[in-house]
């Protein structure tokens, strides 16, 4: 796999998120209360709410439009709602955030 450096972990607030534009669409980078990050689709399957603007709690995020809650690990909607967001491999390397190039639609670097 080849990895793309998209920024530093400190660019993502604790219990917060940032958005990254990729060939497969906008991806949200979530950070929990620890030095721990997840990458998933930025778009809620319900009405397209921008998940990087949601409230991050535990390893979950709540959509800012209608309060759907998603697991950041599995992408599954929680509780009574049914749906799923795509999740993407992300690595933390000495504080740098690395997305898997192939998974986000970049042809791997030569």
């Amino acid at each position: 796999m080849s990895w793309i450096d998209i920024g530093h972990i400190d660019d993502v607030p604790l219990r917060g998120a940032r958005m990254v534009k990729t060939p497969v669409g906008c991806i949200a980078i979530f950070r929990t209360a620890e030095a721990e990050v997840f990458a998933a689709s930025n778009s809620c399957p319900h009405k397209g709410g921008p998940l990087s603007d949601g409230i991050v709690h535990g390893r979950k995020v709540t959509c800012p439009l209608h309060n759907w809650v998603f697991s950041l690990e599995t992408g599954e909607a929680q509780g009574a709602d049914e749906g799923r967001i795509a999740t993407y491999p992300i690595r933390l390397e000495e504080g740098r955030l690395m997305l898997d190039a192939v998974a986000v639609g970049k042809r791997s670097a030569a």
Partner: protein, 812 residues
């Protein structure tokens, strides 16, 4: 045949390696270089030396006699300048050339110094060796000495505690939101901070440094991002270490973060080994002592030609500050496939959290009582199933049998002088006494102590005190809790935040026994509001606990764009403002411009990325945020009043502007809208507002608790006053009373329905009380009566941009 071994660096790893090697009676001619002018000592124990609990002599691991007995040639204070791998020899700084059969690089690590302006001033030190320690000890001998420690990690806190023990006035400046964030979660970090602050160490978290100030080449202080200056005589940077790989690099060894070693601690050159903080093994580098000792053992075996393999293991951490009992091990991030077992004992300041995955213990964080730490660490390392003891696991190895958790623990733990009823100043002890004297029902308590007899928001707490005191004789009525994270109601949480003086979210989670590590989207915004309303000066508003609109200071629309609405004081605008709004609408291609019901102009469809720029442009034209997105003051709607209207009795527009200028920026439990009408014809529709003022010839009729949303309700008359000043004073007092007492997301009409208008009137008719409410409102406004747009456009603009854009193919 005697072989020549050269060891570069006399640290903890190489010291241990030499012990293993030479105690086996191996025949080696060893030369030991060390850049520090001394031999091996236990660097971990520098903190007890700093705090005065130990002397340097006590922490020396190998003395001159040991080196002599084992035939080690010591060259301390001498540096190796170069390694000549082709001819297997090293060159010293002074030009000596020494051949080797085997070479061990143990150069350790260098402290990381943040390249802040002024970092090279005298008096800016790291915390790494005995010289640094002695500098700190010497500072303690000065009168009224001050020190700043940058870095709230393990080392920084040990330095701070040691300096404090030496009588130095210490401030810790930490970039992250809680102390020791790599080893502790927020709750444990909160307890640690509480302990240190209680001792008199100042702790600033979420704080960024700007520059180090100096005079005559010596440090005099640290300037923070927010402009605050912390004067100091010594500045200690303890922000991390970097493997010292310079020699390895120069010699052309494989080096990445550290010097690459294989499982036998051999570098990319078969004749050169490396151990300690300078190595990199399978991508990992090492800062704690346990793996270093393991490496030392393996390296000694490899040198002796015996098989040995270095395996990375779980490590645990303890802080070496006397009286701060904390322990962390393994992986304690929370997660879907993981279960948390949380135990909190607020009265003793104990917090324990175990993290389980597939019935195995994978992580543990403990504060206040770490007696079982090593037992839990053992379970983590073993990785065996803990399913059978799961129910009682958190109580440790000694526990036999179980007891259910007590939901009343938080209330039971309150001291007798904790205030339960704020209206009537009734403490827990008085309620307990009343119960002992025979009061058996809530009505009895109200009658005898007056607790919960006024606004009633403390009813839940009074009942819990009764339950805790009477035991099974009292059945708690079911109450609606804030959310699944706690059994407490909003009213209970508000009251306990005041009674226990809880001033941070981790404090609330810990002291009130939250069952989740950091809340959820329901309780976080509520708790954040309660804290900032009760402790405006102490509590820092947490953006990550706010709904999207309040975090981004704009209203999100269904397509993910935002609406931007500048304030128009009292609905009055000017041609210049209108031109600036029109220019902004053109420049940012705003698809919809709408005049709102609150007498303002809304720009709908602005992209998130454009928000800081459009705010900046509107700021330049003198406009500020209209807070059209906030649980706070929205608009003050007015009619034109007596200046133009033939029926107008007072200057309703002028009063509206004054009210808006007093109240804007304040956060409230839900949104607050005002109206001021110039005569009873009520063109400003003031009688369905949260506060509506109707001007009459004789003065002003102040009505409150109207509604025109899901419910429609006419305001109720609070008071009639003669002057504008009085109208403003009563309005601000009402808003502050609402801010201090209402449940989050209750509009004023709902809150007034709960507490009763009579209670509100009674409170506000007391002149002293009204003045006090106004005073507290102004204290809060000294923080919040500011334009968030200007602040975000200046300081946080980058947060509105994508973190990265990788849609474009990089140039070949």
């Amino acid at each position: 045949m005697t072989r020549k071994l050269i060891v570069i660096g006399a640290g903890m790893a190489s010291g241990r390696m030499l012990e293993h090697l030479l105690d086996q009676g191996e025949d080696w001619d060893v030369t030991l270089f060390n850049a520090e002018p001394r031999g091996n000592y236990n660097r971990l124990m520098l903190s007890p030396v700093l705090s005065g609990e130990k002397t340097y002599e006590e922490i020396v691991t190998h003395d001159d006699a040991w080196y002599e007995e084992h035939g080690v040639t010591c060259r301390f204070g001498e540096k190796v300048a170069e390694i000549d791998r082709a001819n297997r020899r090293v060159m010293t700084e002074t030009g000596d050339v020494l051949p080797y059969d085997k070479l061990v690089i143990a150069t350790g690590s260098n402290p990381f110094i943040i390249p802040l302006p002024g970092h090279d001033l005298d008096g800016v030190i790291a915390y790494r060796d005995l010289e640094d320690t002695n500098r700190m000890i010497a500072l303690g001998e000065q009168q009224a000495a001050k020190a700043v420690v940058i870095g709230g990690g393990l080392l920084g806190l040990e330095a701070a505690a040691g300096l404090h023990a030496r009588g130095v006035d210490v401030t810790v400046v930490h970039l992250m939101g809680h102390l020791m964030e790599r080893q502790l979660d927020e709750a444990a970090g909160y307890l640690l901070r509480k302990e240190l602050v209680g001792r008199g160490i100042k702790v600033l978290c979420s704080t960024n440094s700007k520059q180090i100030l100096g005079a005559n080449g010596h440090v005099t202080g640290l300037e923070l991002d927010n402009g605050t200056v912390l004067p100091c005589d010594l500045l200690v940077m303890a922000v991390g270490i970097r493997p010292n790989v310079a020699l390895g690099q120069q010699a052309g060894l494989a080096v990445d973060k550290g010097i690459h070693v294989d499982d036998q601690m051999v570098t990319s050159d078969a004749h050169i080994l490396s151990v300690g903080e300078c190595v990199e093994h399978n991508g990992a580098i090492f800062g704690l002592v346990a793996p270093l000792y393991e490496q030392a053992k393996v390296a000694a075996a490899t040198l002796s030609g015996k098989p040995a393999t270095f395996v990375q293991k779980e490590v645990s951490t303890k802080l070496k500050v006397t009286g701060c009992d904390l322990f962390s091990a393994g992986d304690f991030a929370e997660g879907e496939d993981r279960e948390d077992i949380v135990f909190r004992d607020p009265a003793r300041g104990v917090y324990k959290r175990l993290v389980l995955k597939d019935n195995r213990l994978i992580g543990a964080v403990m504060y206040g009582d770490t007696a079982d730490g090593s037992w839990f660490f053992g379970l983590i390392k073993e990785g065996e199933s803990v399913a059978e003891m799961r129910d009682t696991l958190i109580f440790g190895p000694a526990f036999q049998g179980g007891a259910a958790g007590d939901p009343l623990a938080a209330v039971a733990a309150l001291p007798d002088d904790a205030e339960i009823c704020g209206c009537n100043g009734v403490c827990k002890g008085q309620i307990v006494q009343a119960i002992k004297d025979g009061a058996g029902s809530l009505a009895d308590i109200k009658a005898t102590t007056k607790a919960s007899a006024s606004c009633g928001t403390c009813t839940g707490l009074v009942e819990q005190v009764m339950a805790a005191t009477l035991g099974d004789d009292f059945v708690l009525p079911a109450a609606q809790s804030v959310c699944g994270c706690t059994d407490l109601t909003h009213e209970d949480v508000r009251r306990l935040i005041k009674a226990q003086e809880l001033k941070s979210q981790p404090a609330v989670w810990q002291e009130l026994g939250w069952t989740t590590p950091n809340g959820c989207h329901v309780c976080r915004p509520a708790v954040n509001y309660y804290l900032l309303a009760d402790w405006p000066l102490e509590y820092q508003d947490d953006l990550q606990s706010r709904f999207v609109n309040e975090r981004n200071h704009a209203n999100i629309q269904k397509d993910g764009t935002f609406s931007v609405m500048p304030r128009m004081w009292g609905g009055i605008t000017t041609p210049d403002e209108l031109r600036a709004i029109a220019d902004a609408a053109d420049k940012y291609k705003v698809p919809t411009v709408k005049v709102t019901g609150g007498q303002r102009i809304d720009l709908l469809g602005v992209k998130k990325e454009d928000l800081p720029a459009i705010w900046y442009d509107l700021n330049q034209a003198g406009m500020v945020s209209g807070h059209a997105y906030s649980k706070g003051l929205r608009t003050v709607k007015t009619c034109v009043g007596k200046d133009h209207c033939r029926f107008g009795t007072q200057d309703s527009t002028g009063l509206g502007i004054k009210l808006e200028q007093k109240l804007w920026g304040s956060w409230t439990p839900h949104k607050v809208k005002l109206g001021v009408s110039g005569c009873p014809r009520n063109c400003a529709e003031a009688t369905c507002k949260d506060v509506g003022i109707v001007c009459v010839d004789s003065g002003f009729q102040v009505g409150v608790a109207g509604a025109a949303g899901m419910d429609v309700k006419e305001t109720e008359r609070l008071v009639d006053v003669k002057t504008e000043e009085e109208a403003i004073e009563w309005t601000a007092a009402f808003v502050q009373l609402y801010r201090e007492h209402a449940k989050y997301l209750d509009r004023p009409y709902k809150w007034v329905a709960k507490v009763g208008l009579d209670w509100v009137k009674e409170r506000l008719s007391d002149d002293a009380e009204r003045a006090a409410l106004n005073e507290r409102f102004e204290i809060s406004q000294s923080v919040y009566r500011k334009d968030p747009w200007a602040d975000h456009a200046e300081r946080r603009a980058d947060q509105y941009q994508p973190l990265a854009d990788i849609t474009l193919e990089a140039a070949e």
